[in-house]
Structures are given as structure tokens and as C-alpha cells.
């Protein structure tokens, strides 16, 4: 077949250009090849940084590999042990508590902040920037600052309380199991509220004023307008924000590790921090991987639920 220099229009899929055609022409004219080449970097990144570690993690969780010895396949014995282990069960409880309570308060406070910032305020831009700071500051830095704020001897909060006569001795923020739990949850709420606020603010600004005006003309109160106009209009963005926050919070590591390292006595261990302690500090790679595997189906389920609900506009 004679080589042709005629260009094949983009989108036509009458087959690849024939032999003898320069590769540059092939590349320009073959949309399938171009599609593959454009997708290739993303695929390599997904495979290299997500797919491979995930598959390796699954494999490790099914073996008894440690840092010292190569692993043999042991089936589900790591998982069987973990569900009976009190420390693991505590970590599961902590993770669920941490996620549910944090998201609940982040949503409430984020919505309040969004409603406030949506009003006509002086220095609105500056206020928005300031309120974003907790989310923007690197987690470890803010965690270290909070570690000082919660110090059992040198807490600024205890100092203020004692000098105001509200308390008579230092508060044991991080030395008592439940105090430590509420303390790290409070820090996560502080850190995550701006994300909710800024996202909900964006949603608020897409709510048509005419809907509010119509409701007002029908005699709706502020609460009724919020309940029946604003909230339904924000359902889509709420679903997305809650999903993202659930993923980040459920798999959180750096905040808790920086403040308590999972203590006191495992009272603040999340699945991620426990997995790190087992795998990296303890050398038990397989058990650490198994702990981490418990995170995956939960996040997968949350993502799928949100995907299907949003795509079918069921929120």
C-alpha cells in the first residue's frame, strides 16, 4: 500500500494510519494513541503511588513478614488475631469516635462560620483568610503547639483557669484516657472546621436569592428558609465535603501521633497510628498492614455511597 500523507481527521476511527506514515503524523492523527499517551502519566502515578502500595499492603497483611524474616502466606490469621486483640478494638473504637464526633462538630461550626462569612461584613477577605489558617498551617506544627497548650504542667489554659479562680490545679488534658480523646478531637475540629466553612460558603453563594425572597414573601421565618431552602440546596456540596472529611479523619495519623503517640495507654490510638507502631517501630510489617487494611473498605464504602447518591442526586 502506498504511503499517504493525507491526514485522518481527528475522531475518525477508520483504523490506524498505514505503514510508511511518519510517526509524528501517526501521533497527530491517531486519537487512540494520543489518548493513551495523555493517560499514561496519570496511570503510572496511580499504579506507582497508589496501586502498588495497596496491592503490596494486601499481600503483606496475608503473610507473617517482619523486618527480619521473609513472610509466608498465613491467610487471614492476622485479621483473626486483631479482631480479638483489646488494643486493636480500642483503636477501632477511637477511630470511629474520633471521626463521627469531629465531623459532626466540624459541620455545625463550619456551617455557622459559612453563614457568618456570607453576610456583608467589613474586612470580609481578611476574615476569610484568618479563619482558614488552622487548615492551612501544617498539621505537625499546629499539633506541637496544641501539645504545649495541653501540657500537664505548663498549659496556658490551666494557667488562665487557675488565675481566674475557675480551677485549683492543672487540668490533666493528655494523661487521662478520656481527656486525651476529647483533646485530640477538639484539635481536629479546630483544624478541620475551616475546610467545611469555605466549602459551604462556596455552596451558599450559589443559592439563588430569588428562592429566599419567594420564601420570605410566603411568610417563612429565618429558620424555615434555612431548613427548607438553604439546606436542600447545599446537599450536594455537603455530601462531598463530608466524604472528603470522613476519608481524611478516619485515616488520620499526624495529628494524633504528634500529640500523644497513641497514649496514654493506647487510649488515643487510631488505626493509622497503631499500624505505624506495629509495622515500623515494632518491625511487624504484616500485622501493621492488616491493621491498615481495615481502613480501606470503610473509605471505599463511604466513597461509593457518596458517588452513587450524588450522581443520582439523592441527597
Amino acid at each position: 500500500m502506498a504511503a499517504t500523507t493525507e491526514e485522518v481527521p481527528i475522531g475518525r476511527t477508520g483504523g490506524s494510519p498505514g505503514p510508511g506514515v511518519p510517526w509524528r503524523v501517526k501521533l497527530r492523527n491517531d486519537s487512540r494513541l494520543a489518548a493513551i499517551l495523555f493517560l499514561l502519566p496519570a496511570v503510572l502515578i496511580l499504579v506507582g503511588l497508589l496501586g502498588y502500595p495497596l496491592v503490596l499492603g494486601v499481600w503483606l497483611s496475608l503473610t507473617n513478614e517482619t523486618l527480619a524474616e521473609s513472610g509466608q502466606f498465613v491467610g487471614l490469621s492476622n485479621f483473626t488475631y486483631l479482631v480479638q486483640d483489646p488494643v486493636f478494638r480500642t483503636a477501632v473504637f477511637n477511630t470511629v469516635l474520633y471521626t463521627v464526633v469531629s465531623i459532626f462538630f466540624k459541620y455545625i461550626l463550619g456551617m455557622a462560620l459559612a453563614l457568618l462569612l456570607n453576610r456583608k461584613l467589613r474586612f470580609k477577605g481578611l476574615l476569610r483568610a484568618v479563619f482558614l489558617l488552622p487548615w492551612v498551617v501544617p498539621t505537625v506544627l499546629s499539633a506541637i503547639a496544641w501539645w504545649w497548650i495541653f501540657d500537664s504542667q505548663f498549659s496556658i489554659l490551666s494557667w488562665i483557669g487557675i488565675h481566674m479562680g475557675l480551677i485549683h490545679h492543672n487540668i490533666n488534658f493528655l494523661g487521662s484516657p478520656w481527656n486525651a480523646r476529647w483533646s485530640v478531637i477538639a484539635v481536629d475540629i479546630w483544624r478541620g472546621t475551616p475546610f467545611f466553612a469555605i466549602s459551604l460558603l462556596a455552596g451558599l453563594q450559589t443559592v439563588p436569592k430569588s428562592l429566599h425572597e419567594a420564601a420570605d414573601m410566603d411568610g417563612a421565618t429565618s429558620w424555615q428558609r434555612f431548613r427548607h431552602v438553604t439546606l436542600p440546596m447545599l446537599s450536594g456540596i455537603t455530601a462531598i465535603v463530608v466524604t472528603f472529611s470522613a476519608i481524611f479523619t478516619f485515616s488520620d495519623f499526624s495529628l494524633v501521633y504528634s500529640i500523644t503517640r497513641g497514649g496514654p495507654n493506647n487510649a488515643t490510638h487510631l488505626l493509622a497510628t497503631l499500624a505505624y507502631q506495629e509495622a515500623i517501630q515494632g518491625g511487624n510489617l504484616s500485622e501493621g498492614a492488616a491493621i491498615a487494611m481495615f481502613i480501606v473498605p470503610v473509605l471505599f464504602a463511604v466513597t461509593l455511597l457518596t458517588y452513587f447518591k450524588v450522581s443520582r442526586r439523592k441527597w
Binding site: 489518548a35 496511570v43 499481600w59 521473609s70 486483640d85 496514654p264 495507654n265
Partner: protein, 463 residues
């Protein structure tokens, strides 16, 4: 005619894409499935490359010889708690470079990051050439290290015999896999004037006396404080001392779990009474909290390295003038049961410069370097070799003397069982620290706390 897409998961014609789009499959979901598909294809070969270390625990034997041409070393070391430690270490490292032409770069790591980084380097086969890691980290992966038996012998010729426990830490199956640098000794630091006011002219020598001391100090408003948080040094030191002082142990010499026997339960009953005398918040303390509290005058006594006294001399001279140190008291077992944070040089088998690494270790452990460094650090590291304990520095001030024999008197983690990856994991999981913490804070009864620790250890030791 071959398609370019044959090298990848099957490329799709536009018509096929259109059918998929109509069925609800978007390009985005296609990308996801392609990514997973490629990942699955690659997984087989990649997994086989991730088989971890080979079985067997023998270190790599490297015949001693001249320093490799073009050698340069990277050392992973724990960060200094005492300024002079780093000053002298850097100075001697520079002297080594001037003598041998081998540049040495040092990564000064926070204590909690040393073990994971050292272990990860061993596992992936890449990283620093040598590391100074804590406790029995080298025992986790002896086959990833080089045999340092010749180095240990050479050092001993100049500096005297190795003490028993450091030697135990450094050896695996009779071969040296690590060279102990020494023990970051932790002994009691207490305020003399407050102790005298409480009726104690000297620090108690037994555990009964220690409990009375703690009660009296609390009554006077100067409580003691010992860390019970998840930190590498202080919490491990005193909780292991306590359990052993009453005859308890995690594992016996036959490798059986022994933590839930009488000795441990008695230790935990003592811990409950002892914990009631402490300042609040100790369950959250890491290695720095007791230093800060003591220097601020909030503690009557604590256990710590010489760093508290070292810092007090410059930052709180009135506290330093009133501070004395003492060894850990003896428990009902009638002999010292101290536990200290030992650190050891180890050289990775993957290093292209094993002889350079060996020469560096010998240089830093030689009397001309080790002794000035030890003295300048004011005894922060207790030496693992006999001759260095005879340095007049140790008796130049009464505050230094209790730290002199820390490496000599110490026991090992996992006592009295063998050292290895199990003892290392038990330490990393804070099994003993948490067991004592649960009892000391009243969270669990001594018996229940010991039983919970036993269950954890059974899993770790595989029994």
C-alpha cells in the same frame, strides 16, 4: 497489523467508548480500571521482589582491609540531649576525616525516629552506611549487618573488657553485629533540701524506703514524677526496673511468657501505691516532660539521665546546687535490676564502604576520642568498657558517680529471655510501660493488667 495499544490494557475504539458512556461508565472510571489493571499485572513480579530478607541471622563477614578508595560515610545518630555531646562528636568526626580522607555526614535524628529509620533502611537495603540505634534494634535484622567481631576485639584491647549486658546486646550467635556506644544512664535526681525536710538525709536504698520517700515528698508539696507515656527512654527505664526489682519478668530464660506471675503482680501492686504519690499527668509524659517539670521546681525527684543536672547548671543554678543523684534502689530480689537505654553502632551489609565504617567506629571508640567526649558530655553516656569507668571524671563530682556503672549493672530488654525481634517488638509496643501505667493509674487491677500484657506477649513471641 499490531496496535500500539497492545502494550497496554486493550485500547478502546471511540464507538466502544460511546457504548460504555451510554451504559454509565465514564472515562474517569475507565482510567481507574486501567490503572488497577496495570497494577494487577505488575503486582506479580513486584511482589516476588518484595520477599523481604532472607531467612537466617548471620551477619555478613567482611574481611578487614584498607579503607575503600573514594569512601564516604553517612551516619544516622540520635540527636544530642547535651550540647557538648554533639560538639565533641562533630569535632572527632572531623578529625577522622582529616586523618583518613573519608568524609562523614551525620543525620541527627529525634529519638523516636531513629529506630524506624534504622529498621527501614535495613529492610529496603538503602540508606545510611551506619547507624547508632537504641536497645536491641540490631537484633531485629542481624543478617542485614556486617560482622564487627574484629572491631570489638580491637576496641577491647585498648579499652578493657566489655561489660556483660552490652556484650549481650552487641552479639548474635557469638558474633558481634553491633558495637555498644554506651548506656544513656538514668538514675534518680532529687532535691536535697526537700528530701531532708521530708526526713531523708540520703536517698532510699530499697523499694520500701522509696515508697515512704515518695509519700513524704507528696505530703510536703514536692511530688515525684516519672514518665508513663509512649516515649523511648524514661518510661521504659523505670517500669522495667520496677518489674524486675520484684522478681517479675516478661519472658523467662526458657522463652516462656512469665509476665503474669507473682513477681510482676507484686510490682504492679507497688506501682499503684507509687503512682498515687506522683504529680498528675505522668501518663502523658514523654522523655522531655520530667526535665521541664524538675527544672521548673515542680518535682521533688525524678529519674533521668545526667542531662537534667547538666541543664540545671546553666539554666537553673539554684536547682543544680540543690540536686543530688542516686542509683535506683534495690528491690526484694536483692540485686540491682537497672534498665538503661543502650545505643550501638551497626554497619549495614549494603554499604560499599565497610572498612571505612569499621575504622570510623574504632576511631570514635578509641580512648583519645571516647574519653574527652564522655567527660565533656558530663557522663551522659555510661561506658560499656571497663577502663573508661576508671576515668577520674566519675568521682570528680558526687552527682556523676551514680551514672558510672549504669552499663555495668544494667539488664537487657526481654530479661531473662533471649534478645531478638520479639523482645524488640515488645519494647516498641510499650507492653511493660502500658502494663505499669494501667496499674499505676488505677485503670486496671494489677492482675488484669499483667494478664493483658501476657496476652500481648504471647502473640509477639508466638507461643
Amino acid at each position: 497489523m499490531s496496535r500500539d495499544g497492545d502494550k497496554f490494557p486493550p485500547a478502546l475504539h471511540t464507538s466502544e467508548l460511546a457504548r460504555m458512556a451510554a451504559s454509565g461508565v465514564s472515562r474517569r472510571s475507565l482510567l481507574r480500571s486501567m490503572g488497577l489493571g496495570v497494577g494487577a499485572l505488575a503486582a506479580g513480579s513486584l511482589l516476588s521482589a518484595c520477599g523481604g530478607s532472607s531467612a537466617g541471622g548471620a551477619p555478613k563477614v567482611v574481611k578487614s582491609g584498607p579503607i575503600e578508595k573514594g569512601a564516604k560515610l553517612k551516619l544516622l545518630r540520635w540527636s544530642a540531649f547535651v550540647d557538648a555531646d554533639q560538639t565533641y562528636w562533630d569535632k572527632h568526626t572531623k578529625a577522622f576525616t582529616q586523618k583518613t580522607g573519608v568524609p562523614v555526614s551525620i543525620d541527627w535524628e529525634t529519638w523516636t525516629d531513629v529506630q524506624p529509620k534504622a529498621a527501614t533502611a535495613a529492610h529496603v537495603g538503602s540508606g545510611p552506611d551506619l547507624a547508632i540505634a537504641f536497645y536491641d534494634t540490631p537484633q531485629q535484622f542481624p543478617d542485614k549487618l556486617i560482622d564487627l567481631s574484629d572491631v570489638a576485639d580491637d576496641i577491647s584491647k585498648e579499652a578493657g573488657a566489655w561489660f556483660p549486658t552490652p556484650q549481650k546486646y552487641g552479639q548474635s550467635n557469638g558474633k558481634w553485629i553491633a558495637i555498644p556506644l554506651g548506656a544513656n544512664g538514668a538514675e534518680w535526681n532529687y532535691r536535697v533540701s526537700w528530701a531532708q525536710k521530708a526526713g531523708f538525709s540520703e536517698f532510699p536504698k530499697d523499694t520500701d524506703g522509696l515508697l515512704e520517700f515518695a509519700k513524704a515528698m507528696k505530703t510536703d508539696g514536692h511530688p515525684i514524677g516519672l514518665a508513663l507515656g509512649h516515649a523511648v527512654g524514661d518510661a521504659n527505664t523505670w517500669t522495667h526496673w520496677l518489674v524486675w526489682a520484684f522478681g517479675g519478668m516478661t519472658v523467662d530464660s526458657n522463652g516462656n511468657i512469665a509476665v503474669n506471675k507473682d513477681g510482676t503482680v507484686k510490682a504492679l501492686e507497688y506501682a499503684k501505691q507509687f503512682g498515687d504519690q506522683m504529680i498528675s499527668g505522668v501518663a502523658s509524659w514523654d522523655d522531655s516532660n520530667n526535665n521541664k517539670a524538675y527544672l521548673a521546681g515542680q518535682l521533688g525527684a525524678t529519674s533521668n539521665g545526667i542531662s537534667i543536672y547538666y541543664s540545671a547548671q546553666s539554666d537553673a543554678p539554684d536547682v543544680a546546687a540543690d540536686t543530688m543523684t542516686a542509683e535506683f534502689p534495690i528491690g526484694p530480689v536483692g540485686k540491682p535490676t537497672q534498665f538503661h537505654q543502650i545505643s550501638q553502632f551497626m554497619v549495614y551489609a549494603y554499604t560499599p564502604y565497610p572498612n571505612a565504617a569499621k575504622e570510623y567506629i574504632k576511631f570514635m571508640m578509641a580512648p583519645e576520642q571516647y574519653q574527652p567526649w564522655m567527660v565533656a558530655s558530663e557522663g551522659y553516656v555510661s561506658p560499656p568498657l571497663e577502663n573508661y569507668t576508671q576515668d577520674p571524671f566519675w568521682t570528680s563530682k558526687p552527682q556523676y558517680t551514680p551514672y558510672r556503672d549504669a552499663a555495668k549493672n544494667m539488664l537487657w530488654d526481654g530479661y531473662s529471655g533471649p534478645m531478638g525481634i520479639q523482645s524488640s517488638q515488645a519494647l516498641a509496643d510499650y507492653v511493660v510501660v502500658d502494663m505499669v501505667a494501667r496499674a499505676a493509674t488505677g485503670q486496671q487491677s494489677p492482675k488484669d493488667s499483667a494478664n493483658q500484657a501476657a496476652a500481648q506477649l504471647k502473640r509477639i513471641y508466638g507461643v
